[in-house]
Symmetry: D2
Subunit: 209 residues, 4 copies
């Protein structure tokens, strides 16, 4: 069990469809997630971002789908974290296929909950970051929230942040600046609540069933 | 501010379409909510259920829509509670029109959050109860979860309970017995977590922005 | 059965929460619906808009809920139409409680389909109009589309139109002008397809089961 | 342009997560899709099923993501069809990541619509097949319906079929038999409407904008 007083750790699962290695344009979702990361660091939280598109995560519902599967080491990082943030763009009203794949690959952990009544994600805190062009994030925030609650994760108030709009001509720097300014309040509140609940639950574990 | 040690109070907003006063058949949603209430009482939580269909709640987005509006006194009970449970049937994949109306009537409180950065629902804990005939509750749980998180409410893990299936020939007693038996684990876990977080947040208020 | 060559009739079910009789501010949804109505008239379609908030439509799932229920005469107009358009604002990611109530009140017609295999809405064509402030219409368009398809209604391509954005200082006239200009292509295509399919299905009835 | 009188062609995009080549258990979704295919054949429609999990379809939003991308030849089959059926399981309230990937990869065709006003999917007819264990298909049917309508596809009434329930001990044969018996009416009606509209639109093209 985690010792109270340790710095909380956050892992961001970034589900942008844009490949970094291929030199594609920057990701809006990554840029907004970085704004939240800055705020979490100000709350003395360690952060790591995992860009899913650069990993090989085969379709399936098991924690390990065999040879060449990168998911097991991503799962290790999730299990070692206090805060888990799902960060996704919107495509046609839904989280990206990479975010949905994370959900599918976590399903084996849910089967454990059904069998044992215990979750390996208990006492962890969840967050959500979404970007889209006027596509509507509320419903996707809801989808992910429903999943995290069923997985045993706690959701603090204002634990989600989204940005909608088109910035075709933005550079990564200009968009980052824009996001920082326009979402400062929301990102700070989200980070403050994630950090507060991560510490609160480290010191006050949820009673086991 | 609430004194630590006080018994937590829960309010259930029941959005069944079935009118009690008209002697209509019993409500599945009410019956499942009563199972959760029994578990909450075992956790020493005071409970009250408000059957929305028996009140006059006009369409609108203000806390008070004027003469004949029953909403202001329902809102008072919500504000005086530590735990707020949204209990709704499913009609065509959506919460009932009465549950949606509650959301619309709470919108003025969200405007306050936007203006002041503070929520009158902060340090309150949310729960969700849903029944339907194979209609799918996850998406509705998500809708309501998204709303509650934006309103400043905290969502503990496993804070939702649902039951799907048709019991055309059930009586209220037989259905209550069935729900108690089949949902015992889920209802107990939900109630335990609601009560745990209600007490935790009474003793450890979320830092104001 | 309808005689081919007759002018098609369209009914708009307007689910704004804004009461006309109370002199409240104008409705964005009504204004956008009027843009579609102009285009339908250019296609020689007769149109009528029903402002639901000005009627007394009690909660329930029957076609007639008894004394004082305004729904039966609205249902008559729906049954007499060739085109049915659901027009709704978004509140917290969902169609308004008034739009949801229409769905609930149409449920008895769905029971008829389950019993007889025949729908009283067969050979009718459906449309959807949605407004919201960056709330996301795709998911709501989907909800309503799913309902209409199950009710026996046909959905032509591009049969939905939405507008998102805040126009706090707009007047009804300035917003109408704005909507007309910015949505001209979408409204014309929607109206053209609704009218084309209404005539096509009048002349080529869907084979009965 | 397609010559009237030709046999319509249907393509099923099967988004099961179960790999055929790995000898995994049979797919419920595939089994239900096969029931619909039988009914379509009785309507003299040619059918092909594409099992997406057995192809390499990289993340992205372009019609061709370069070397090793299997999507371009799947897209060719879609463009050559009169009827397109999306067949997907439900994972946590959402279509599978493979179905979502299809949607993302079709996005370039939507950009064409935005630029030219014309869709390469016009005069095609859409269908939806969904299986899940009490997870709720209505909302997913809605997601897919919204996408197809925006892509220029026509949706006939009753164009979706779903089955919910757990059949852990079923064999492919026993489940196929069960699905055939229990869904006969729904599958026949769906197939009849898909075939009727495919022929109707081949003979009566939607007027171009």
């Amino acid at each position: 069990m985690k010792r109270p007083g340790t710095r909380p750790r956050a892992v961001f699962l970034l589900a942008t469809l844009k490949h970094k290695r291929s030199g594609q344009e920057f990701s809006h979702t990554e840029t907004l997630a970085e704004v939240v990361i800055e705020c979490l660091k100000a709350e003395d939280v360690q952060c790591e971002m995992i860009r899913l598109v650069d990993y090989d995560i085969p379709a399936g519902t098991k924690s390990n789908m065999g040879k060449g599967d990168d998911w097991p080491r991503i799962l290790e990082k999730i299990l070692a974290s206090d805060i888990i943030v799902f960060a996704t763009p919107i495509w046609w009203g839904i989280q990206s296929s990479l975010m949905q794949r994370v959900i599918e690959r976590l399903d084996e952990l849910h089967n454990e909950i059904l069998e044992t009544g215990k979750s390996r994600l208990t006492n962890k805190v969840g967050g959500i970051v979404i970007t889209g062009e006027e596509d509507g994030e509320q419903h996707i925030t809801g989808n992910i929230a429903n999943f995290l609650l069923n997985m045993g994760v706690t959701l603090p108030p204002h634990c989600s942040l989204s940005y909608q709009g088109s910035y075709a001509r933005a550079t990564k720097n200009s968009l980052g600046k824009k996001f920082s300014e326009e979402n400062a309040d929301g990102a700070e509140k989200m980070a403050r609540n994630l950090a507060f609940f991560a510490r609160l639950l480290t010191e006050n574990n949820i009673p086991a069933s």
